[in-house]
Symmetry: C2
Subunit: 422 residues, 2 copies
């Protein structure tokens, strides 16, 4: 029987020694009531919370879990490398091997720089775009997330106007809005940040549009600015290359993270020769950026990406999940919208402006052992099987029944209402 007694006790202790009890994207403040905050085990497709409840995990560590938690081949590479060298006074030769491996796989790229956070990679992209021709303005899609540094964090606390003085916003996927933004840059255009596809929180996802992407490429060329694809979230879950390679448009820079080491801490900025000189001029670094263990994990993860049909498997399984949800919703007469790539599913409900139905549904699924998000895109991993999806659909089927019967009593979350303005 599901319970959360230990989680509640730990949250009380946490409130004493962590501001707000928890912070960042893994705070459950925006998740349904009773969502567990603390976990003690992660293996394959499953996570176990501190009370011993086991979940099929459709958040995958918010991305990093691509091949299954504790993947044996990746962990063997980790443990072999740990016995040799990790963080030390210089990098190991693996940094060269890994840069070569990434360059060979990412079509637009001629070089690589490795870092820790996705935010490090997008920050380096910003700095390189500005170093490139000494221009300052960067175009960013409204509501797109490019990390939590002051120039891009979604909350205003601690941010000053100057942090965004040279950020110009446009509407994602709208070529005219992009053109207008370029005009307002007034000859001072350094770069264009293009999310590979729209994956904002609390919104349907939309797939990349070739015309929009090509306009972004053409505008960057015309104005001698750099085009940047932020693939931190979607990288290697859509294609075995930069996500925009699938629509035939190549950026100058692409930011990577999350899946790169299947959970080991590493991110990367990839770039072409046009951006190489600017990249060699900036100073960006971190205490653990050159550690060898995450690079060993990344080399093994890339090998698996190249040599196995992990991606085809993920698409098949993701489609089974989506088809199953759609069929259950139709059967029961509840309207849902499943958007985005099958490997990064987003679930929203019709007639649910304040998200109360989606929250109720995810809470009901959670208590039946399936961890979903009602506001953030989800993630699948390559360890998931048809059996996992069958088990998942058993839980979601019951969750649909539950919200059908108690829909009238569902209440919206005040935190979500504050966040979405609904």
């Amino acid at each position: 029987m599901w319970n959360n007694a230990k989680d509640r006790m730990l949250r009380e202790r946490a409130t004493e020694v962590i501001p707000g009890g928890m912070y960042g994207h893994q705070s459950v403040a925006l998740m349904p009531e009773d969502t567990p905050q603390f976990f003690i085990k992660a293996e394959g497709t499953r996570i176990t919370d501190v009370d011993g409840n086991v979940y099929i995990d459709f958040m995958c560590a918010y991305g990093p879990n691509l091949l299954g938690y504790n993947h044996p081949d990746v962990m063997r590479a980790v443990s072999d490398q740990q016995s040799r060298i990790d963080a030390s006074t210089g990098p190991s030769p693996l940094i060269v091997d890994l840069a070569e491996a990434m360059v060979s796989m990412i079509s637009h790229a001629d070089w690589a720089m490795f870092c820790k956070n996705g935010s490090d990679a997008t920050m380096m992209a910003l700095m390189i775009a500005r170093a490139y021709r000494g221009k300052r303005k960067v175009l960013v899609a409204r509501k797109a997330y490019h990390g939590s540094m002051p120039w891009s964090t979604p909350r205003p606390a601690g941010v000053v106007d100057e942090d965004r003085a040279h950020v110009i916003y446009f509407d994602y996927g709208d070529p005219q809005s992009l053109k207008d933004a370029v005009v307002s840059a007034d000859g001072d255009l350094a770069g264009i940040f293009a999310t590979p596809y729209r994956h904002d929180v609390f919104a349907d996802q939309s797939m990349p549009d070739r015309e929009y992407a090509q306009v972004a490429r053409d505008l960057a060329d015309e104005h001698d600015a750099l085009l940047i694809v932020d693939d931190v979230r979607a990288g290697f879950r859509v294609t075995r290359d930069c996500t925009w390679e699938s629509i035939g448009v190549r950026p100058d820079l692409s930011a990577w993270g999350k899946v790169l080491g299947n959970g080991q801490p590493i991110s990367a900025l990839m770039g072409n020769n046009r951006a190489r000189d600017a990249a060699s001029q900036i100073y960006a670094t971190g205490s653990y950026w050159f550690a060898a263990v995450p690079m060993a994990a990344a080399l093994e993860t890339l090998r698996i990406i190249r040599e196995t049909k992990y991606l085809e498997d993920m698409h098949r399984i993701g489609k089974a999940f989506r088809d199953g949800l759609n069929a259950q919703a139709k059967d029961i007469g509840i309207g849902v919208r499943c958007t985005g790539p099958e490997t990064l599913p987003m679930l929203q409900f019709e007639d649910d402006p304040d998200f109360r139905v989606c929250y109720g549904f995810c809470r009901a699924a959670m208590k039946r052992g399936v961890y979903l998000s009602p506001y953030h895109n989800m993630f699948t991993n390559a360890a998931m099987t048809e059996t996992d999806i069958a088990q998942t659909l058993e839980a979601t089927g019951a969750a649909f029944e539950e919200i059908k019967s108690n829909r009238a009593s569902l209440q919206p979350s005040t935190k979500v209402m504050a966040m979405t303005g609904s």
Copy 2:
């Protein structure tokens, strides 16, 4: 016989796929000619380069190596934790244990937030100082390093004026300069960044001054701003608390990193109750910030810090190293200045304005198996023994002899001259 054939070959490969061949603080561009770039082994006090040359390492991964590379107790904690959970969809209970452990050890602190880079911790400090009362100006000591984000990176490429619009510089250790800077903040003072002691590159270090620290504390109080000690570099190498605790002045925030997990990737921002509400308002996060393995490593590192005489050992060994260098220099008639805490030694030469003698000395020591830095403070670790120092002094003795005989032929590095303006 020392050689670097493989290192040179790897550097050529690296030049193809990494901008400038290497980047960040572990690039050897500013190190003496022939300093190896790539390492294949780190164990205890020793690092082995890609050509098989073994060095006693006085850089300690630029800080993280506090207890010796691959410390058995820390690595046991790492491997135990790896079998359970690392980066996942939520933190493990270890985040609460670790916050409690840090709060119990850092006298000024009531709470903790964990992150990856030292730069993450200083950036959060900046944001929290601004969120605290909605004020904007931060005071930073000229030439002090607080990470490589645009507001603080030591190189101008990719930085725009607005990144530092609200940064006011003062001279470290000079109370009047600090007072003048506060006046120029003109009622808009958010925070004062105070390095625990002066540890700029290419300069003698100076120890913290109680009067200066107290003035900084008083000014912060008077103007309802936050006082921040950046202990990323010096933390737990001077005392088992915030470095300024040793002079009796408590900041509101302190930034930590490097040694915290003895090499496992983790950093932290510690704060008091005055700063708690502001800390709970900012949004700062990263894909791997809540991973459990580095927290397990940090808990074990903190246990060793509390329960062993690692610090007394390090001071004794550091003093033996310093005394030995001073005696050798005196014997041979070369003037040197050894500055800073014994656990973070800085070595400079008299009559060496362009650093050619120091570079020649460090290069000669390197080729004899001792890895030193001629421009950055060095680090000792708790695994070093009297035997290591005896072996080190054998190499440095020969290095002093070598530079005495070839001093006239030593040439300054053009890169260093460009960097120092000498």
